[in-house]
Symmetry: C2
Subunit: 398 residues, 2 copies
């Protein structure tokens, strides 16, 4: 399936991204709006963090009905750990949108990302909503993508078209990431819109199906966010006939491909990252075992600093694997970095390390660990731990 | 109990630390020897990593008998992930020591720390053992401490004396740490010697009793080592009478205090660390819950970079707490940083943040999270994630 890393219009949706003055930096876009011209089917999946942001609590509740008119998202303030005041603020923010587009407030869901523990200014937000409503456009998804960025340096977009029940339908996705990214759910904000006609139950299933190998298979710093939200809205405006099982399978694959593209883009633009590294664990007894080992490697500060230093540090990788508390036989391990076999039968192949160092100078490479114990395998995408990660996070103040 | 951070002589033990040329840097001490003049009671606890170093496998096996004459430790090479050659090397190393001190090789245990995946030169090691045997001295524990350092910048020593069954007995401990430090067992090399007369079973119990609140309660980078070893040797040379239950309880406390002092010294000298931070989680439903939350906070890269930046980032701390997958009610949380209450009833106390920033400029401070759900509490000691941590680990090559 061909995924383009750009926005496309999707029938019945309009988008906007404007500057409402919520961010400390003057003039940066920080308020985004997705509006459907009439109620559309929607579903979402959210963070499993026990400290949930106010907008997450409201969005989860409202999405139970499976119908939406609008999503309003802001960056610069997460509206999390803000008590009752935060709940009221998120509800008032939705009401402001509902008033602009003339719909019940229950058909609007909020999303926030940014610093935890603070409230944004409601008057500024309301003024921003008015500006955004006036700016709504079928071509506005790129502006929306910029409006949800925090320490992201580039917007993340992914789109595709496919034949679906006799018509051509479009899927367009957008996400923000950068920090507090770890596999436990969506771990960021991400939105997918389509003009296919899908039920909320199907959308939810498609999202859950897409997660394990896309947004849940990436990790930047192992820190689970309080605001992670992945939502999908389906307008049904493409005018197709009743979809067959095969049509639905195709669109499910498309959702997974969009989510996968967004996930890769998140890691590519991770805070301070200079390397995108796919950790492939193969030959495990079970997928659960493989995932534990892959994540232990992908989140190890020592492994990630070695990636930053282009150091094919076999020891740190196998030590991380051994720390995962699952079955492992060191004397069977085989390790391949960037296509270069650097360890076999439980020993380092010293003469191969120079070639592996060269392979690690690429922007992207793969670390494959063969356990030779079974048939299960799992991929996790991670990045390096660089000086800039520390600089960015030591300076990004409360 | 008063613990001095220095070495003391302990009857029947002699120590040495010499340069055997095992480290890349010429002239640095890298081989240490602890020798008891006759077999003494001993026990140890070791890493739970599935990738165990050859010396760990041998030491675990030999300590089952509960008797030792000598420990030989080297830095610069972990002798881990080295297959059969590594096992042979560790056995030959012990044999070299046994020959020098005229005892069966089974009474010698090896310990290695340093880079994983490589072997050291046996001839250099043997020559080093001869030099070390000639240098053995009751006052040599400081030299031994320097010989086991890797990226440590200072030796870690702790000693105390106490009345025990009618005599004065001494306990002296030594450790090395720096990186690959996480709570799952000893997470480093540490040795305690005493002239009290104790059984191997008692020693083992005392070590297991000491661990949860000392060496298992610290974390530097969450990376579990392949070589973690904590051993204790007891000579019984103090000439005391049969100990009472109270004597044994006293010595158990002394072991815990020595281990606690060494643990703190490890974090104080952690790679690149500029802050020592005690994470206190109070009011949890269970100790297990409290420990999960404390470790999630203590290992969060975002929290640790905030410590580096003197940023009282309530959001990152509560988000890490929420990610621990245990019971938590955000609206009850209270957070105190360096004695300054920065959050209560699920909200940040913004006006307190400046005072908290000041408190975080100290070399040591405490972060206390009150859950208000129960009575269990746990402390974990951690450090910040600094630019130097990344520099050190991006450059410390294979």
């Amino acid at each position: 399936m061909e995924i383009e890393e750009q926005a496309r219009p999707v029938r019945r949706f309009r988008f906007a991204g404007v500057s409402a003055g919520l961010k400390a930096v003057f003039g940066k876009e920080d308020l985004g709006l997705i509006v459907a011209d009439q109620p559309v089917a929607a579903a979402g999946v959210f963070t499993t963090n026990r400290v949930k942001a106010a907008p997450v609590i409201i969005a989860e509740e409202r999405l139970r009905a499976g119908r939406l008119r609008a999503v309003v998202a802001n960056s610069g303030c997460a509206n999390c750990f803000t008590g009752r005041a935060g709940m009221k603020l998120a509800l008032d923010s939705c009401a402001a949108v509902a008033k602009q587009i003339s719909c019940p407030p229950e058909l609007v869901v909020p999303c926030s990302t940014g610093v935890i523990g603070h409230l944004y200014d409601l008057d500024k937000f309301r003024a921003g909503v008015r500006t955004a409503a006036a700016a709504l456009s079928p071509d506005g998804l790129g502006s929306f993508a910029r409006a949800i960025m925090t320490t992201d340096t580039v917007p993340k977009l992914a789109s595709t078209t496919l034949r679906f029940a006799g018509a051509e339908v479009t899927l367009a996705g957008v996400a923000k990431g950068a920090g507090m990214i770890a596999p436990h759910m969506a771990t960021m904000l991400a939105f997918i819109v389509t003009d296919a006609g899908l039920t909320p139950a199907f959308i939810r299933r498609a999202l859950l199906h897409a997660l394990p190998e896309s947004l849940n298979a990436v990790t930047i710093d192992g820190d689970m966010s309080t605001n992670d939200s992945l939502m999908m809205l389906a307008s049904g405006a493409a005018g197709h006939r009743r979809p067959s099982a095969r049509d639905l399978a195709n669109v499910e694959r498309a959702v997974a491909a969009i989510a996968g593209s967004l996930a890769r883009q998140l890691v590519y633009d991770a805070e301070g990252a200079t390397r995108l590294v796919t950790i492939e664990v193969r030959g495990a007894r079970s997928s659960a075992d493989a995932a534990k080992i892959a994540r232990q490697i992908a989140n190890s500060p020592l492994v990630k600093t070695a990636f930053f230093g282009c150091d094919p540090n076999v020891g740190r990788i196998v030590a991380a694997a051994g720390a995962a508390s699952v079955a492992l036989e060191p004397e069977r391990l085989e390790l391949i970095i960037g296509g270069v076999k650097v360890a076999g039968r439980g020993m380092i192949l010293t003469q191969a390390l120079a070639a592996a160092t060269d392979a690690m100078r690429q922007r992207e490479f793969t670390v494959r660990l063969e356990l030779k114990l079974g048939k299960a395998s799992v991929n996790v995408v991670t990045c390096d731990l660089s000086l800039d990660y520390v600089r960015i996070n030591a300076e990004y103040m409360t």
